[in-house]
Amino acid sequence: MGLVESFLIYGAITGAVYALLAVGFTLIYGVADVVNMAHGAFYMLGAYIFFSFALELFQLNLYLALILAAIAVGIIASVIHRIFIDPIAEDIIATLVVTVGVALMLQQVMTIVYGIGHVEIPPFLPGSIVIADVTVTYSKILAVAVSLILFFTLWTFMRKAKVGAAMRAAAQDREVAMLMGINTTRLHMLTMAISGSFAAVAGVMISSSTSQMADPFMWLFPLVMSFSIVILGGLGNVKGTFVGALIVGFAETGVVTFVPEGTYLKGAAALAIMVAVLLLRPRGLFGKHIELED
């Protein structure tokens, strides 16, 4: 009995937080047509920079550290886009290889600077609350709140603000957008900045409310998760990402809750979903890019 409630509540929590993680990935794909394999690395970078600001270097207030980390990663992501991705963006295979290379380079940098073991990521709030017989930490609730706020802020921004409209236009047709006077390179850099900073926030919130640690190899798992969610929801579709995130979140929680020692199998659930979607309905739930045979 307790398991089912646990599954429902934790599933929702995981799903909500994953939405924040995945939306950046879908955003940069939708707007700039880039499959950013370094997305998980931005997640990791967020956690590490947060660690430095909060514990090591400045002993800052955690919330301030979070904001600074988000901004820092946003800038870094933007610069990385300009240097490593923009020159070869038309070439899918090259972007794949380069972004994986960037991710690995960041992994190595983390190893060099912080060491090969893990560092501690402190939780934001102590204590917990009991909902329907399930213990939920305040940290987790905060994580959900932050994720939802940021996610819906982005959604509104895309719908209402001029720049948001520009992003949607660029997503539909890069050339026409350029003809309309939209500086696509700068637009893409902005998009990447948002994408990266969201990933960074997700990195901080997820690691601080679950494992409470960060290591240089932690970037692969979020990448696989993001990819799985975005494939399920439909590449480039923000609404789809939210739905996809919930489904994947529940799937993962299901495995963890109901399968003995299922924590180890988290990745397997995401991979299974990804493969199933790619074989049965490649455009995902809401995607419009129908991959024709020819």
Binding site: A94, G267, E293, D294
Partner: protein
Amino acid sequence: MVTTYLTRAYRSFAIHVLDVPSRLLALLLFQPLLFLPMVLPTSASTNYLLSVLVFGSLSAIFAASWDLLVGRCGQMTLGHAIFFGLGSYVTTMAWVYLGWPIWATIPLAVLITTLASLFIGFPALRVKGPYLALISMALPLIATSLIFYFKDVTGGENGLPMPISGRFFPQMNVFDLRTGEYYLTLLLVAVSGIILYKIAISRTGMVFVSILDDELASKACGINVTKYKMMAFAISAAFASLSGAVYAHILTVASPFAMGTTRSFFVVIMTVFGGMGTIAGGIVGAYLIHFIDSYVLRVIVDVPVEWHPFIFIGIVVIFILKWPRGITRFVTDGLEDLAEEREIEERGAHIWKKYKRKKKSTPEG
């Protein structure tokens, strides 16, 4: 890169100047490698060199196998290390749990990994380019999770160790052991390289290239593209697992870290350095990387170990940024070997002569 031009220069030289079949010439140049351990004194530094060559050889097999799949067939994967790891684990587990001898466990490892690759390939190869690359990256992650999950059987994080008797030549002392491993791996590189090369230039290899060039047109030629992709996948997996299995017996442990993304990416680095699509390029590139890593970055200029991967990856990333065609073309001009290959040329010339004679006797309508 540089090596490709050197290889071509050497080939032209061999064929046009010396008029000696390039294969014979390769054999002549290969000889010093055979005599190396006998000529050098028994010392720690010789041991070091032999170690570098041993691991270089294993990487060479691994890289050559990847090159067939990616450089010739165009199926970009970034998680090739999974086959390497599977090879390591199957052989170690068979050795530890079944008590089989090495010459049985290694073939078993290759067999099982190849079968697994068919199982994986069946869904994986149906998806488009970037998806295949991503799924392939996810696989080692899943495998590692499974290894941790079944830690009682697999040894989890710490890997599964073998006692010393798991080595190839357990009775020998350190120096002789290294020499033995050296010759063994050298032999394996030679055999694997030749087999992979022969496949690449065979008509099956041509079909692989047709898939690389234009999958749709290939289907229009009646080719069952999925079948050939699986074939490339399986052959590639077989050799990758071979290198993984041998690796396990040299280190006497099967470790989950053998399956990292870094190892998978290094294969990209090696083939880019050596010339993608040429099979030989993967082999040359592997040795090159190992040499730079073990000598240039250690002995000549002392660079801390953590920096090595960063440097290699950085170089390749810059290379791709400057010459994206170099990697998306997948195949450098090395595919001339399909044309230069003696067999087809000789047969072709022979047939052409006959054809011309026939043409003269039966005028065209």
